[in-house]
Symmetry: D2
Subunit: 352 residues, 4 copies
């Protein structure tokens, strides 16, 4: 089969012919139909410091996918040949303290598809049965592939079984990359009353409106983001902040615009330590801050699955896939993303 | 002023000229603009056993209202003359264990407007400032009056600060009186994926669809309600049951169609004790049952307020007020309700 | 090996020589060191209606155990030969909706050790690795066996990840069988301020005091249980009710003595439907009722494990094992239980 | 009457004769029996930058107190002359968004006793009835005064209605000032399995053990605090971190020793912004961070009240009051605190 392989510790990846993956007795073999490009893929492609410290070539890259099951190991019970599946990309040990207390997404010995083991930008992929999410057959395969980052968005909005509900709240989404955009749509769908979004890239600002944001602000153009949000919320500030940018300035703005007792989800990954006036912005305000990684296994997947039953919501997700390219043209995809011309780039296996 | 007064312990009520209520230093005087008729008003009108045991004539009846503040006591700080307000109809002591631990709606010494003290079917009403909810001036006064039962619907869906979220769940609403109908609209607005509704009255069945129910069943016509709900949910059953009918048969159906671990809210009031196979239907299924009374003070009111910002949702609420009559014609209103020709009857002060 | 086998659909069980169980590749073989007798074992022994409807002889009975791992299947990774383990006795499918959303204890396809498959009153037992809880080597084997019902007690007190905390609350434990007694000790250990216990058997009443109950009442001797509890709590009633008896009268008393907004856990299994005045006792009181089955997998096990680090708490648990008998003398054990002379009967493998 | 008055914007305070406070119709007049000195009082005494920015002399300082009610306003209903009361020192507006949604402790217009209005180091104090907590008459008045900071400790352990329970968890308390010491006792009382404490002052280290800490570490003497905590918890880390020191190094250690998914309460107030590697320490670890200010009104007070029914717990609290001085000798008290010779200093009204 063909695959996009990171062959050496350097930027880029190569189209290469490799052997089809072996399938263990609890694994499934998936013929990839569609994949989508994640920010993590960009980091690995560009071979940034994080990628250098973590990724060990050779590695087939990519992890957001939809594919058809073409073979199942002998102990596989739930998934069937012919099923269209997407992948929970976090492979957990199932035996650590976190796994045994309903926090599999925080497993101490996690490996990630396309990061620590061969991934999805290929003709075929092997996957533990447990990590396969069976899709409705009619779901668009690119949207199906995007359920993984959509899960991040839902997890940011609903980080635990019992958090304060979203109904009628005011929320801010800081950073409108693909997950931020998805989060806007999720919050509106779940009854948030006012969603404010901040972002600097023009295309993303447009999409923020299309996803349903009630107020969209560009920190490069507006002088007083916090003041504008306070005005828009009658001085109250927001009840929920989703920090999706990783920019320290956005995080601080988020803490400033938070109403006392606000819930803040941190999904964005700052490159460096961030300096925070904890006394004023966290302690006295009684804020609650949640670090968000991955998706709850598999509560979040059920939520994602059901949200996509809604036609309007699904149409918004389809809209986010601005480009679909053959896998061989991944370099073009990377350029589209980096130049701000694409929101989400889809890939399909085609090599010549 | 004029008012509808229950003058004696018997069915009915009279239009009567009475003196305008006195306003204490923390009270406000409200000129009633619109009121709506609640099932409780029907019970008091009909003088059913519950009413006989609780209500002490003479009493001005009615409690769902919208009115303009025309006078405020000297210690009133938050509410202003000219404000359009609705009433939290439960007046609490503020000092009991429940009041001091965020459960004011379960106050041990609660008095209720139009039940234990003079109510809203009148030209004027006195109300503690604390119980006044200030409305957006543009809100339709009949919808404003209905915020009180809408609060019951929201409270049934979200009975505590931190309950399992509604996102992507399957829910059943059993009984489509006004609060059940409102609950359907609330659940859909808050991201419930599938809402099943059961009801026997034809007009209400129609409205259940209009409110957004995905499947509407009439227990008088369908033989196997539980089986149909299981089929509709791929054998899983529902995650949330809102029992709004008070009918024992509906309650049992609700417990049967509940998936293991389901949350059940009981708002309907059975007239008599209900016999339940607790071992099979509650213990082994690991169900969680919430008794629902009133609205959370004032979390629920904030939620209601924000939900009504949504035009589609507000339009659904307006649609529920099928009739608007002068207060003098309350008897006609009672007949419309009892004959199943009305969903929600609005009243306005007009006496001749 | 020898085992206690229910050979036919009738009361009793026989000591029988049977072949040692086969061990699948994800199973472990356990040499039983100690077991304890559960009420369920009594029901199966006596062949009551429930047992007749569920149990299919031949079956090795018993499920509460502690044993040493003597063999492991080839895919077993976490558990080692030589480990002393106890068993989570509920074997789940791992793939249903409940299993995939953190409710394994409510699995739709659960099988139970000693009920649906061969159990623990035997020299050896085969168990899926997943269901093995590795004990501290120094833990008394009878206490180790009792962790399974102790888990029921903890689960009743803490039925979900995020329930209202126990700190400084008032609680009632209705029914002081072994799990009720354990629950008293658990509640006191977790900071409950006042624990009231009700029970009719004299020996159990004594043990209720020893476990730490602050007030112990015998419904056969006291005329006004509810009044006494209200007095003892300064008129407030209790915040938490654990119904452990299955007696309808106790359940109703529990609902009566509950303060508004109280949390009620139902673990006791009434034989027949129970008639409840839901309007007065559940809806208007705003109660929250939790059906309790099994133990949370494996949150509850972690809690049990840590509670037993406390010497005083562990000593209380040891105290509950009033008798230790060879397995061949199980009939004597059944008589001790039924006559009210024993609290918890321990068994060890000895056949001659 | 006499009082300790901050007469000018400079270090110290004077014993001064002032007029007895006026009592509004919803206020009570309290004759102070005992008071205790808080870190805030030290800051105001020393006139540190925070005090300079907030406090407006002249002001009677002090806020932790126990006293007897000697006069009540005409609208006072709950509190009676002769009651022994302590004070919730945060006076809220009751009408803001936070107050109306069960977050009074985060009121947007809060004034604080002894900071923004006259306080407790005086013969008499005026207090809104709402802020009076009626004590058991037999409670030691110095312990009664300390309920306010004890409430901070309880609030740190239980920051919301529904947080993950403490039962059998591992916790770290970073910083063993009075509130940290109280928190150790609270955590042990509520069933935390292992409590680790860090502190640099020798006397506090001793008291940490007396309060029940299982492991006590001095960061000035130990090289690898985090490693030691990981060892002590079998590599797992702690489930709960209470940051009580305000030291950035302690906070970072807390985040390092936290197990994935850990809950962190921040009560300590860093003087300056703290630089945090959010990606590694918060996002990937899935931590939940709670800013803690004040006490939940009045859930926390109920919890404190009940905890003090326990003799052992109460004895620990009594032990913390290492010195009792007349108010005139406050300077000596300040020296005892600053030199590390006192844990908690009690004051009683005596002026000559």
């Amino acid at each position: 089969m063909y695959a996009l392989v990171k062959t050496k510790p350097a930027p880029g990846a190569e189209v290469k012919r490799v052997s089809r993956p072996q399938v263990g007795e609890r694994d499934i073999l998936v013929e990839v139909k569609a994949a989508t490009v994640c920010g993590t893929d960009v980091h690995i492609w560009e071979w940034n410091p994080w990628a250098q410290s973590r990724v060990k070539p050779p590695l087939i890259i990519g992890h957001e996918l939809c594919g058809e099951v073409v073979e199942v190991g002998e102990k596989v019970a739930r998934v069937k040949v012919g099923d269209l599946i997407s992948a929970e990309t976090h492979i957990v040990d199932g035996t650590c303290y976190q796994c045994l207390t309903n926090k599999k997404h925080l497993c101490n010995h996690m490996t990630i598809l396309g990061v620590d083991r061969d991934g999805a930008f290929a003709d075929y992929l092997a996957l533990p049965e447990e990590n396969a999410w069976v899709n409705d057959p009619e779901l668009d395969p690119f949207v199906a592939a995007m359920q993984e980052p959509l899960g991040n968005a839902v997890h940011s909005a609903l980080p635990a079984d019992n958090v304060e509900d979203l109904a009628g709240r005011y929320a801010a989404v800081l950073g409108c990359g693909p997950i931020g955009l998805m989060a806007i749509a999720v919050l509106k769908k779940l009854g948030v009353s006012k969603v404010v979004a901040t972002e600097v890239k023009p295309l993303r600002l447009e999409f923020a409106k299309a996803m349903g944001a009630d107020l969209v602000l560009n920190p490069r153009e507006e002088k007083d983001i916090v003041g504008k949000v306070l005005d828009y919320t009658d001085g109250r500030g927001v009840d929920i902040v989703l920090e999706m940018s990783g920019a320290p300035s956005a995080l601080i703005q988020g803490l400033e615009m938070a109403t006392n007792g606000c819930r803040v989800s941190l999904l964005g990954l700052p490159d460096n330590p961030v300096s925070i006036d904890l006394s004023r912005l966290v302690v006295f305000k009684g804020l609650r801050i949640f670090g968000i990684t991955g998706r709850r296994m598999y509560e979040t997947w059920h939520q994602v699955h059901e949200l996509l039953r809604d036609k309007d919501f699904k149409a918004k997700m389809e809209q986010l896939v601005t480009h679909k390219l053959p896998m061989k043209d991944i370099e073009e995809g990377m350029e589209l993303i980096n130049s701000g011309k694409a929101i989400k780039v889809g890939l399909y296996p085609q090599w010549k």
